[in-house]
């Protein structure tokens, strides 16, 4: 890690394209406005190509996008306020629903924040299983991204191929946690349940099949003339602008910045896992596509390593042995009065988390997912704030769109990989 993450090659474009004075609003130049040929078009909030309820107010001069403002908030549901009313234990269900495609990562970041405040160590089996599920979830999220983004550009078959493998992953989640989405499998201290026996053979099947599936996706898109024409050189974002705009994840790595929190600030079992961080230097939509596809390959590699380690951990504990925080084993409830009391207390009143404030960040499929938690020492969080990577990614729309055509807009918005639930929270 002695090398600077920002590569020293020629920049994608000279200078900065971040609009001034408002970095997120592209304003129509006065001389263009004076021509009287600028047409303002409202796009969304309900539009099949916006990945949810995003509204864009676009100024068009012919086919050129000359002005743009993103309007968000249509999916605001007050998750952060709600979490302040719940015990820590119950609040874990909320973050998953914020980003409905990478629920494991969202759940993880909140659980890690609780554990950081509590100073709770988790057993290695829990750590490896969390890594495994988070990587499966990354593949799942990237599949949905790839399928829908290609669909929006007219490649409908991609959607079916991607959702074929997505189903397999959801089946795995169901096998482990009982739920296909919003699994709530991570507890403060470890996992909610032990790994079921049937998980390993099924997961191995996926790990073996996945590289072939990714070959199929690449065969359909990577050298597809239409796909190349519609994605290459579109939506440019330089490394300097990406950092200034707080971009993270695949968007940042497609702009030539070699940065991944899994490697830079390792958490869970990532220090012991062997994987590469794909970086592309073109900063366009195609580069973002390449990063996503390569990341799926890397995630498959990580899952395979996790399975090897986990299979050797049969019979090991999956949750920390701290009775003030962790529910007692179910079978003890029939024989031990203390266990019953602990169970009752944790479920009804919740556990107490020491006073303090922490910021925990993980690499979600969309980039740096942060969680700022304040505790007053009570059984409920005082304040929870999520640093949503999708929210930040949308800040880059105006910059990416500074020389775009109306037809490129869909490709660019799609390439930023935003989940509107997470943007609006």
């Amino acid at each position: 890690m002695a090398v600077s993450p920002v590569a020293t090659r020629a920049p994608i474009y000279e200078g900065t394209r971040i609009p001034h004075p408002v970095p997120t609003v592209l304003r129509v130049p006065d001389e263009l406005r004076a021509t009287g040929d600028v047409m303002t078009v409202n796009f969304g909030p309900n539009h099949p190509s916006t990945h949810g309820v995003l509204r864009l107010v676009v100024d068009l001069f012919g086919e050129d996008v000359v002005g743009l403002e993103a309007v968000i908030g249509y999916l605001h549901t007050g998750f952060e306020k709600n979490m302040e009313q719940k015990t820590w234990w119950k609040a874990i269900t909320y973050p998953e629903r914020i980003d409905y495609l990478s629920y494991q990562a969202n759940e993880l970041v909140f659980v890690l924040a609780i554990e950081k405040l509590l100073g709770l160590e988790i057993p290695p089996k829990a750590s490896w299983m969390r890594t495994c599920l988070c990587e499966l979830n990354r593949i799942h999220s990237h599949l949905v991204w790839l399928g829908t983004s290609a669909l929006e550009l007219g490649a409908i078959s991609m959607f079916w191929y991607c959702f074929r493998e997505r189903e397999q992953i959801l089946d795995l989640f169901e096998l482990v946690t009982g739920a296909r989405m919003h699994t709530r499998y991570f507890q403060a201290g470890g996992l909610a349940e032990d790994i079921p026996r049937g998980f390993f053979p099924e997961a191995r099947k996926l790990v073996e099949w996945m590289p072939h599936a990714i070959d199929e996706y690449e065969a359909m898109l990577s050298r597809n003339k239409i796909w190349l024409e519609r994605t290459q050189g579109i939506g440019l974002l330089s490394a300097a602008d990406a950092i200034a705009l707080g971009q993270s994840g695949p968007v940042l790595r497609a702009s030539g910045v070699d940065w991944d929190l899994r490697r830079a600030e390792p958490y869970l079992a990532y220090p012991e896992v062997d994987f590469d961080v794909p970086v592309y230097h073109e900063g366009d939509v195609y580069a973002r596509y390449r990063v996503h596809v390569d990341e799926m390959r890397q995630s498959t590699r990580i899952v395979a390593q996790c399975l090897d380690r986990l299979e050797a951990m049969e019979g090991e504990p999956w949750i920390a042995d701290d009775r003030k925080v962790v529910l007692p084993p179910r079978e003890e409830l029939h024989t031990s009065m203390e266990s019953l009391i602990h169970h009752f207390k944790i479920v009804t009143e919740g556990y107490r988390v020491p006073e303090g404030e922490v910021y925990v960040a993980v690499e979600s499929p969309r980039g740096e997912l942060g969680c700022y938690v304040v505790s007053d020492g009570g059984p409920r969080p005082w304040r929870v704030k999520f640093r949503a990577p999708s929210f930040v990614a949308l800040e880059a729309t105006a910059t990416c769109m500074s020389d775009a055509l109306i037809a490129d807009m869909i490709a660019i918005v799609g390439s930023l990989d935003t989940v509107m639930g997470e943007v609006d929270r």
Binding site: P23, V25, G73, A244, V358, R383, K385
Partner: protein, 180 residues
């Protein structure tokens, strides 16, 4: 290392994280210093928190008291451990990251009361634009010098700032109800 930050009043180390508390007036100077001298080129997040009523309501406990327990107010009984008082009502925390070969994080924090303004850092990190709008929208903190400080998640005509502790939860006004 952070003693040279302009306007610094306190450097706190807790839970393995560093918090640099700075005077509100010198926030921009502090941020420019951290960006240019200390290499914090990446603003991860701006988080505002409301400490109204901090430590006043009972801070839980499942240890009973001699007076027994008030079963109607769960989570408020027991031996109370009061958290340390806060200097003002609102904190605004800037989570900075040095995106470099030597990754580091620091939290810059400043305190304000209701109605006081925080200088905007949009000129330092453009990404602060939406973060500050969100803090204004949900927490009601004004950022002076922000080029476009409007509501972002809620409607333009929304009243109040929902993440404040005195904002009512549940029960929204119903038009044409019987009481009206």
């Amino acid at each position: 290392m952070y003693e040279g930050v302009p306007g610094v009043t306190e450097v706190v180390e807790a839970h393995g994280e560093t918090t640099v508390v700075v005077e509100t007036e010198r926030l921009v100077d502090a941020c420019v210093h951290l960006r240019d001298e200390e290499g914090f080129n990446f603003l991860s997040d701006v988080s505002a928190a409301d400490y109204l009523g901090w430590g006043e309501a009972g801070v839980s406990g499942y240890i009973g008291t001699a007076a027994g327990r008030d079963l109607n107010a769960p989570m408020t009984q027991g031996l109370q451990v009061l958290p340390r008082p806060k200097p003002k009502r609102f904190s605004v925390s800037y989570h900075l990251l040095a995106l470099s070969a030597d990754p580091r994080r620091v939290r810059v924090q400043t305190w304000v009361d209701d109605g006081e303004e925080v200088p905007s850092v949009v000129a330092v990190w453009p990404t602060a634009d939406w973060h500050e709008r969100e803090a204004w929208d949900l927490m009601g903190i004004r950022f002076s010098g922000h080029p476009n400080l409007t509501r972002i998640l809620l409607d333009e005509d929304w009243e109040g700032h929902p993440l404040r502790k005195d904002y009512p939860i549940g029960g929204e006004p119903v038009r044409f109800s019987e009481e009206e």
